[in-house]
Symmetry: C2
Subunit: 319 residues, 2 copies
């Protein structure tokens, strides 16, 4: 009998230099544990991997601690542009949205694209309009804003660089991973009792990104991939590098074509193929046997996994 | 010494049922030959594969016979939304734009994203704005319109279906491939004298597509991929299937991981992996040895190839 499993991530990055306040670290761990439990319930009740990853990513989007949905980072223009994708490993059906601004839960929009359109990918205002027509919850873009994310934008713009700023020195209640160096994405992968795999990914992108930029999160093959024949993968990291590496599909292709294990393939992509491309980040993946791997080449990655009915594991740094 | 090579395509599809007028067929063949010659000149003068594919795709965009740039198809709303991508096999650098409406040559915008931004992919109005800032030629969207493409939209909408219409019966001067069944994209792949590979792809998408839809053409890994270690690939076909199959990268991955030839890998993707996903279409590819393959699972594909200094080959149907 197949034991359903679920894994989630909330972004990868560098450990903050200042002293971590234990209570803040606990808040992140509690959030991961609670979100895992939300997805686990679906799998425990015989639900599909597709439903479990949709719900887990929806919960990650709802949590302001993570860079997706409410709590998404700001673009250079102090706006929000959200990306998401989802893939069903049993059919290779998939859906994605990019640069959406008013859909409360972008992962649900990605799923609606997959299930209710002849296409697999919509971008911009038309993606928002599609979600509205589908009856998904629409919010004002300010819904996604939090004071912490706005402070990050100001900090990034003060440094005068276009990409990632340096530090949060002096801030005392900072999170366990340095937000200014974090590659913020959320994602989930699951295996259900029927042996089906699914993956979903969602993000607000990079703080201070250029408006219109699309990262790897909505790109099937780069930020998200699922195939019952091999594995389900959700990535987080410097999106440009993950696109160049076709990172998510590369894990599956290596397994399919060389017969190596999930762990071997995922480690090879994260530790050998991504670094030469400036590919800081990590991924979570599960195979059809329920093996889970969560490698990252940064100092930490918010992550958690659970085999249904067993104790959940959550972690931020290396073991 | 490496013999530089260039291959191009102008879309795949079904043979039209009515009698083909030889003069119309010749017009397509002449266009392919002339465009090949334009790219070949660059390679013959020691130019890069990247410059050759940029120029070949620019010429395909300029030609109203092909669905990219001037001559692009219409969306459901009678607008144009263009997608393009490019990848440099020597560095894995890449760039892409989606849903642009005013950039005369989307392939140049993709290249500008690659060379002059910290990102690799822009979508929508912000992609147009980026191209404008880069000094690329901006046109009114009506520049892309041709009477033939508008007639195709009207025909598609009269059938009352959202996707592909059936026939052009009764039209006498129709092109060699049934435009209503054609998967219109253009693309180029090249190997230069320095041993570097490059690929580029550009499209107007599908006639009557939903606004905001993004197909495979701007997706690195699906519609375009290049890596000196394996091959350069540009695809054309039902974009949704090519995204699900991660088709372009799959050719490269199969070569890298199993050691099969370019032809073997490309044929496997086109004849075995895409059809179960409803993946009508084809691709062109070249490897580091200058081998070329141009498989398609439709009745025809506009295509051509040349080894620098030798006679060019152009074809539409099977040999």
């Amino acid at each position: 009998m197949i034991k359903p499993v679920l894994a989630i991530h909330g972004g990868a990055g560098a450990i903050t230099r200042a002293q971590i306040i234990p209570a803040v670290k606990l808040a992140y761990e509690d959030a991961l544990r609670s979100i895992l439990a939300g997805g686990e319930r679906i799998l425990a009740n015989g639900g599909s991997a597709l439903d479990a990853v949709t719900e887990a990513v929806r919960l990650l989007e709802e949590c302001p601690l993570f860079n997706a949905g409410h709590g998404a980072v700001f673009t250079r223009d102090a706006t929000h542009e959200l990306d998401a994708s989802i893939m069903d490993g049993s059919t290779l059906a998939c859906g994605a949205v990019a640069n959406v601004r008013t859909i409360r839960n972008p992962v649900r929009a990605a799923r609606a694209v997959m299930e209710h359109s002849p296409h697999v990918f919509f971008a911009g205002d038309n993606a928002d309009a599609f979600a509205r027509e589908q009856g998904l919850e629409i919010v004002d873009s300010s819904f996604f804003s939090t004071p912490d994310r706005h402070a990050q934008l100001i900090k990034a713009q003060e440094t005068g660089v276009d990409s990632i700023v340096l530090d949060h020195d002096g801030v005392v209640d900072q999170p366990p991973l340095d937000e200014s160096k974090k590659m913020g994405t959320v994602g989930a992968v699951a295996l259900d009792a029927h042996g089906n795999l699914a993956a979903a990914t969602s993000t607000g992108g990079m703080t201070n990104k250029w408006p219109g930029r699309v990262g790897d999160s909505p790109i099937i093959g780069a930020g998200c991939y699922a195939n019952n024949a091999s594995c389900a993968v959700s990535t987080t990291g410097k999106g440009e590098a993950f696109i160049r590496a076709v990172a998510a599909y590369d894990v599956a292709a290596m397994m399919e074509y060389t017969g190596v294990s999930l762990e071997h393939a995922a480690h090879k992509v994260v530790y050998e193929k991504l670094p030469p491309l400036d590919g800081a980040g990590g991924l979570i993946a599960v195979d059809k046997h329920g093996n889970i791997t969560m490698p990252f080449n940064t100092e930490g990655m918010y992550r958690g996994s659970v085999v249904v009915g067993q104790a959940a594991l959550v972690a931020i740094y290396r073991e």
